[in-house]
Subunit: 188 residues, 6 copies
């Protein structure tokens, strides 16, 4: 089970609202390569994972992705809080507003509701870990694309932290893969 | 952020494997009215929720739903662990096996990947809380339908606990609704 | 069976075209909390509904939602009829135009085709009626969000009528819920 | 607007329950080529249809498809009403039961929720009418496939009526196409 | 099996980049009535098609649609290659960019990932060929809508070629239908 | 463009029909990790791929996946051709039959229509190649799961060939990744 601790893993000190960017960053809340995808993917894979160290890594990283999901939600919230409907419409969020107001909804930047079709979870550990390595690379790339779309240092600061974590996770999954190959060798 | 604590909120002391039932109970892992729907729904709604007590309730219940999600996953895992491919096929899980092995995948009992189209999150607090009241009733009904499909006391024990929690959550959301109406009156 | 009567339940006397608003109001034609969702939801639930009065209400309201669906379609049509492709593109409807011209297509404001994943239909009457109460609240909120996005009195007039009807339906479903609780008490 | 008349367009005099067949016939309630697809398709296309006779035909046939949708729902209901959960499971409807009980839900025979991606609606009348001709042929074929799966004369009787209507609709849409070509010639 | 030949079936001699139009033309890469829909539809239908000439036509046209798919991809690539993230955002492709950069992704103009729900494939040859006739008409109309959205002669030239091919395919499928009716007559 | 050559890349010499297995193997025709996913993924990624050798590999492997898609289709067709509706129903293909007869439809083993949500295509080459490495591992695992579900040597022979090819593709993509790292080093 999980306990909630009322603190962000990394601050989102937004000073300037930017609904247009909010409409892009939401892809990391509910898009194909966002934090929800990552969290659900790892926390689904862990149960049948055959090697204990890998299972623990999936749990640890999966739980951290939920913390990142919270950071992205906080970003979106701060970027849009109290913005008028008219300004939201001008920023391309008119459709979002009429369906959700300014609440968070797990969708990508085009408005597609999140779907588990984005993730795979297989008992085969080598397949699952490659899925995870790919996930981390795609999340990293998405953060870079997002950073390309803003010049606000506060946003860049938070996104850079999150990007860095994906790089670290990629390395951790690489270590799990090494373990798996050892484990498979030992069991041959 | 969330911390993981390696203990189930309620035990899943399965003694007898039952892949056929596993194929049904997975709806609470990734189906329309399952624990993932509940968790994502509440944890999405909370950010823009205008009343502090309601926000706290959404966070608390949303976090508990993740714990329930873990219980369901544990159930599925214990009901299928090590079952041969042939027996899985006979139990109607042949298609599941060829796509996921015995790993957990967030889908419903028909194999539909989870989609956020099942949930709504709106800044309007009265609308969101009614969405949540409905969610709890639908989850309760799903647990009752699941209990109708088994006579294994160990499974029924775990599902009955989860069903009970939905009833409690329904009451808690009812209290939030009362608060909201008070709050709206005070602000008129 | 249904008979069509060539009259709108409430007029849509649009004087000024507004393709941009058309791109928002379409959410009530084919979005998550729109009139199609409502109609299909109630007209699906009614068959197995165990209490006669509730069944009748589901039929009556479901049929009325089809009339509202027609009003929304008429609105969209009048707001866009004959508008040039270029103006549609400027209004953010370029993608809509290349896929449908100016015909009605059941999608939300982001272009998601309508999906039955938005609705639930259960034999459990308490669960279904709570689904319906939530549906009415979400539809009401959507109309309010839409009204926030326009200052055209003719559009507001029609949307206000539709919003009012959702409030009335909410009350009617509340009465069905009372009946259900009585019915359940009598059968205990 | 539509008025409901409490009579089926054609009776569904089912004498023998058959949950297994219910699990197949539901494709005409919420599957790709079912009555809901037909109804929503025609009733969406009609608004922007440029020729009055075609518009009227779309309205008439679309309204009739709703009547057929009701017949299919009645069939499903009669084939499953009161069947025990265990028997439903044996008939392959265990997953359906835990998600909906014995209520009607707009899905296909594999459990896919209905999606508007099945239908197209375009202002181009020639394209739309060809969509409709195809729809009628696919519905006809589906009824034939369903009839292949039963030898119950009561079911066959109802399905044969519905199949016949698709053939008639195909002819009606063929006439609309002729009109369109005339109309286009006149306007060249 | 297929062999790739490094030549476009028809050139896409784009001289002027136009990311806004790229965001529309992508519907023919991954939208409901685009070239991917056509290719997958025909190449799926062919295996169980009961008449040899029809099978051959499905194969030939299906393979040609892949060539058209390549032309559309080339168009999109040339219209967007090297365009800066900021300009992409102004052109309404900000969401696309953060999810895919400037790579091709099979989606429609609203960002919906391609789904096989757009296509039907039935053993019934008359139903399948009507599906195909409709597909060609819808593709033709889509090209016309696209041409309405540009005045760049180079784009129009390529789209006109593709539009023409849909008309030819429509005629070819008409011939298959004639064959089918003959074939059915002979087998009665 | 592509040319079709009327020969299978590897034979599918099925001697014994097996509709139940057909219902599983279809996941490689239209499921998440099947040949269609692979083909569309690579053939979408190639256009914006920044390194020529990688682009060529994507094209070559993407084209080969279409050949594998054809092999799987041939397998399904031979395993089901002419099987009676009743036997199909007993084999769990009743729902498939009423929607498609015995034609090929791009769906997974649970009946989900193929969706591009299964694939990602990004301009970032490192992310895309990791997506591809993962895809090959998941396809390999799926073939192994399928082989677990049959003891027919003819089926196993064909599936083993396809499994082997995924292993080879994985190695080829590994080589592209090495190239990419060199290329990135050279450009730093």
């Amino acid at each position: 089970m999980w306990n909630y601790k009322k603190i962000l893993q990394y601050p989102a000190n937004i000073k300037k609202q930017d609904p247009e960017f909010a409409g892009l960053v939401i892809t990391q809340f509910g898009g194909p390569d966002g934090e929800l995808s990552a969290g659900i993917r790892y926390l689904s894979q862990m149960y049948a994972f055959p090697v204990a160290e890998g299972k623990a890594t999936l749990n640890t990283i999966g739980t951290e992705e939920l913390a990142h999901w919270e950071i992205i939600a906080t970003l979106f919230y701060k970027l849009t809080q109290g913005i008028t409907p008219e300004v939201l419409k001008e920023a391309g969020l008119g459709g979002y507003y009429v369906q959700h107001g300014r609440a968070l909804y797990p969708q990508d930047a085009a408005g597609n509701p999140w779907t588990a079709a984005y993730v795979q979870s297989m008992e085969d550990p080598v397949a699952s870990i490659h899925e995870d390595l790919a996930a981390e690379q795609k999340a990293r790339a998405t953060y870079e694309y997002l950073i390309d779309q803003t010049d606000d240092p506060a946003i860049i600061d938070t996104l850079s932290f999150l990007r860095e974590r994906e790089v670290v996770h990629f390395q951790r999954f690489g270590e799990v893969l090494d373990l798996l190959y050892e484990y498979e060798e030992d069991n041959d």
